[in-house]
């Protein structure tokens, strides 16, 4: 009887181990943010830029990028080689007050959760301007970046999933023949 009870306990322990082992990856923190709640701002925006580059698209782009063709392409290929995704939403409004902090709150709420660390938080005095930069790290390795740029007539949310060199990313501005996306009210 005792032997039977030990066996049952052993079986339960094995079953629990299997459950935890299979559930662990699903429970692992992901740097992927849910940005769907921002979509409603598109109705009042003058212009919406939404770029979704998931892992599949990244692989396709990486395959197409040629290190031999140009230094720019080599730079990008190197930069994105371990990335899992890049997600961008930018809304430009005709007038001020087209969105509120409540619209951005669901995104910030995710970023205040565990795993994320705010490395930059700037609120300009005298005007509605708020920039926040968050990183998710694991064992000194960046797992993701999130940037929220809230300005009177513009809201930009960027979510980079996967390890990336932030310095190299910031150096890309105005490169690759893509004109710098100058928008009003930006401190230049």
């Amino acid at each position: 009887m005792v032997f039977g009870g030990d066996m049952r306990r052993g079986q339960i322990a094995s079953a629990l181990l299997i459950v935890f082992a299979t559930a662990a990856p699903a429970l692992a923190q992901t740097a992927l943010l849910k940005l769907d709640n921002l979509d409603k701002l598109g109705a009042s925006a003058k212009q919406v830029i939404e770029v979704t580059v998931d892992e599949q698209l990244l692989q396709l782009a990486s395959k197409f990028l040629s290190s031999a063709r140009s230094a720019d392409e080599r730079e990008i290929k190197e930069l994105v080689k371990d990335l899992k995704g890049v997600y961008v939403k930018r809304f430009e409004f005709e007038t001020e007050g087209q969105y509120s902090s409540a619209d951005v709150e669901p995104v910030l709420k995710q970023l205040r959760g565990s795993g994320w660390t705010r490395i930059v938080g700037v609120t300009a005095k005298g005007q509605y301007q708020n920039i926040e930069v968050f990183v998710m790290t694991e064992a000194s390795l960046i797992k993701g970046i999130a940037v929220v740029v809230a300005q009177p007539r513009e809201l930009t949310v960027v979510n980079v999933v996967g390890p990336i060199d932030v310095d190299r990313l910031s150096r890309l501005e105005g490169q690759f023949g893509i004109p710098s996306l100058e928008l009003g009210n930006k401190p230049r």
Partner: protein, 104 residues
Amino acid sequence: MNLDQELANALKRKQPPPGMVDRVMATIDSRERPAVAPSFWHAHGAGLRLAAGLVVIVAIGFGVVRQREALRERQEGEFATRKLMTALQIASEALNDAKRMVEQ
């Protein structure tokens, strides 16, 4: 008659009887010709031509499909690259905005 005279008479050129040529030609024509085995090409020529035509059509079709596939792959690759560059551009700008605001 001596022997020489007999030989001369025997070997003297004579005209064939009338109708001899026609009879000989009729005899030749009436003979069965030996059966000649047809060549492989003659026996299967139509089938071979059809098969060769089909092979060419299939090869051309395959080439066209492959070319279209390569074009589609290239277009998708270019599209993905443009999207990626735009996303990185905006991400870079946003980071630099943060940097500039911190420096201000």
